[in-house]
Subunit: 470 residues, 2 copies
């Protein structure tokens, strides 16, 4: 938790940005999420918007801000003797409220009465409990209080959502320090994982070693770990395969610190310690794309343009490998890169690894006037905005060979004759490659986050793996 | 997953136990639980009742069993191309159904129509999504479809709940093998943790090392790890303290295997490697209670009686330390042991660490005719039933000194003059001790689960810690 002035200043800024809005802004913290039954819950994780404005890292808190008078109230219940036996003594709600500069407190169940008869501005809820709770507090169906996918924020308050996004998009120096620390922990995780890659081991063993690192020093992983020799499957969470020689191992994993800021790195390793020529050709292209993107990151540049520049560079190299054919500009315009990189170049990162995704992808990642492309790949771009100092984004190009997708394009002629399907069949068991860094937009350009960069150039990777085995 | 005959046989037995019931039995698998937003979920965990009867370890499955015709249908959706890109190819719903011996399949959203106009038997839901889903499928409020705490099963089907409990209470040999394996993994976790205890280290570092062990070989922990020098707080999940010499460290942690069976062990260690005399006196008592309980476990003995025998032995020893005074039988009857052990002696364990707790504690843990005590301690006993071969239970006595609770008893005279409050003040910074094993009830008596027992006798513990430091 930061000092109380931080939270006071953030809420003051929020109130200012909400200008002439009437009524009450409502903030719901999380409750514990049962994994099996009420008394066996997943690891406690507070809501990120709550953490940003109210900081208290305990379950079953809510707050209101009266947009007309500025009055702030925290709703929560003090511990009784049963709570103390099972969970230990807790500071009083009043003293916790005081630590984040909130003057008024009330019991949790007083919330409903406080909202009666006033316009209520609320943020979209993702967790099912909060959907139910908002639904019952506001007389809405739970499906109406979550963000409407990419498109908008359903019945949640767009002015409130926009005001929160405008603040959280620009990281404060104290937040950047936390993200740097999470990146340092991510560096440790990835280093342990890379050292664990040896043919014959089970993927899960490496996952466990890596996750142990972040559990020992931070909250845990910032998202479910991807560690797979099937890099062509983006969210592959099965880890039961033995490490086989000659494969590529994609490791996409990050740490969440004890203060809940995230890191998110991806590296791809040759399981034998050395790339084959075929692997190296594709790897080199992805590496160049990562470097190209970083070189373009500076205030004012739309990240959408960086995505498209990466797509062009990727297609140019793939053309040299005779995997695609034709005019480069046409291929970019027709979204041919999406066959090889069906995801976007990057996303915002902060208290959430996909920062603020609960508030609606388009409102978070797109400037007014930018429209989201329907194309595969570009259509999955989560951050398209013109960059501004204080933005923290990921730079994560990738190339994948996904047989089911290639076959679909071939069947449907999606490529308009640009793809050399014959040659592509040689890549059906290739897997995929992704290389991801976390980047801060600075006044003068960009800085990669974390104290050290994980080895990334092909020779650097091979040298690191050779040293690992000494 | 077991072979298909296992699931067929379990469902057949269920149908038989439901006898003349009419209508449809409904089973809901889990969906992913968002930690922050839809695309950042907690680690996937299937519903245990679903696993028991239908085995398929994938999200968004449901099933019906027609109690009149015996017809079984699984409701789920096949993967489209987007799912394949992000999550990889998955076997068809039809082939998954075939692997657990179910003949019919239908789309997930066909479930609502299939229930129309028929009496529906359902199990209580704990996860918030399933509460919402059941609510909307059955036209009930989400609060009516969860188990009504200890007391019953609200609007869920008591015949179905009772039938499921009667089956899952008695573990099959293949389940016992899985629990033995989870206990082996729990043994490894605890051994790593014990070796990690050295003054100056942060508790969280030890937690991370220990959890890495189970993540490397199993699903993860079977519940949030308790590792604390404040053993008097039962569910202490903060791990930020440095290990201090002269303290007692309670470690209550278990593994969940990849097939989702649990283990659950507790040991208490002197952080300096040797017990003080004061620590040893209390430790010896808890150890004797653990041994006494184990010696009494055999078919036919109500576990409630074992709890009470442990309470008596504990009070007898505490009387010798002049912490309590008076007639032993009276003290047991008045629940004086609850001041020192405000929890029950143990619980069932299987696919859930508190097995089937979602179905209602009393229905799971109490025989017809047994009523739950309102006393502190005995009132928290989760397993009171007469033991039967195949039951798997925990044996976990403990002694704690909880200042807030002691002060409350003193203020309210709850002890009827039996407690020596003066002497007790010397124990206000003692913490707590708990010693827990997992036990199978056999035809002839009992067997502790797992290949080896963690060191537990006071000398044994000191020797193990001495060897750890060599």
């Amino acid at each position: 938790m930061f000092e109380k002035e931080v939270y006071i200043a953030r809420r003051k800024a929020l109130l200012e940005r909400l200008g002439e809005q009437k009524g009450i802004a409502l903030f719901l913290g999380n409750v514990d999420a049962p994994a099996q039954y009420k008394d066996n819950c997943y690891k406690w994780r507070q809501d990120s918007n709550w953490l940003y404005f109210f900081g208290i890292d305990e379950p079953r808190f809510a707050a209101t801000v009266d947009l007309e008078t500025g009055e702030e109230t925290i709703y929560a219940d003090d511990f009784g003797i049963d709570d103390i036996i099972w969970m230990g003594p807790m500071p009083s709600v009043r003293s916790l409220a005081e630590r984040v500069g909130v003057a008024h407190t009330a019991p949790y169940d007083a919330l409903a009465a406080a909202l009666k008869g006033r316009p209520v501005h609320f943020l979209p809820a993702s967790r099912y409990y909060n959907r139910m709770k908002l639904g019952s507090l506001l007389g809405l169906d739970p499906s109406e209080v979550t963000s409407a996918g990419k498109a908008g924020c359903a019945k949640a308050s767009e002015p409130l959502v926009r005001a929160v996004i405008s603040l959280r998009l620009v990281k404060e120096p104290r937040e950047i320090a936390q993200i740097d620390a999470a990146c340092a922990l991510g560096y440790e995780m990835h280093t342990v994982a890379r050292r664990g890659i040896r043919p014959g081991r089970i993927e899960q063993e490496i996952v466990g070693e890596m996750e142990g690192v972040t559990l020992a020093k931070g909250w845990g992983t910032s998202f479910p770990t991807i560690l797979t020799q099937h890099g062509e499957i983006f969210h592959c969470h099965s880890h039961e395969l033995p490490v086989e020689p000659g494969k590529l191992m994609v490791i996409d994993a990050g740490a969440e610190g004890n203060d809940h800021y995230a890191s998110d790195f991806t590296r791809t390793y040759p399981t034998s310690g050395r790339f084959t020529q075929k692997q190296r050709d594709i790897y080199q292209t992805v590496y160049e794309c990562n470097e190209l993107a970083f070189s373009m990151i500076r205030p004012g540049t739309p990240y959408r343009d960086v995505h498209l520049a990466v797509a062009a560079h990727m297609l140019d190299n793939l053309r040299q490998l005779d995997l695609v054919r034709g005019n480069l500009d046409d291929m970019v315009a027709d979204g041919i890169a999406g066959l090889f990189m069906p995801h976007g170049l990057g996303h915002n990162m902060g208290l959430d690894v996909h920062d603020m995704e609960d508030l609606g992808e388009n409102l978070v990642g797109y400037d007014d006037g930018q429209t989201r492309s329907p194309q595969l790949g570009l259509g999955s771009l989560r951050m398209a905005r013109a960059l501004a100092p204080g933005n923290v984004i990921t730079d994560e190009p990738g190339i994948y060979f996904i047989p089911a997708l290639i076959e679909q394009w071939k069947r449907e002629g999606t490529d308009k004759g640009r793809v050399n399907y014959g040659k592509l069949t040689e890549y059906y068991d290739f897997g995929g490659i992704r290389l991801e860094d976390d980047v801060l937009v600075t006044e003068g350009g960009a800085r990669r986050l974390g104290p050290k960069r994980l080895p990334i150039a092909p020779d650097e990777v091979e040298t690191a793996m050779e040293n690992d085995r000494k």
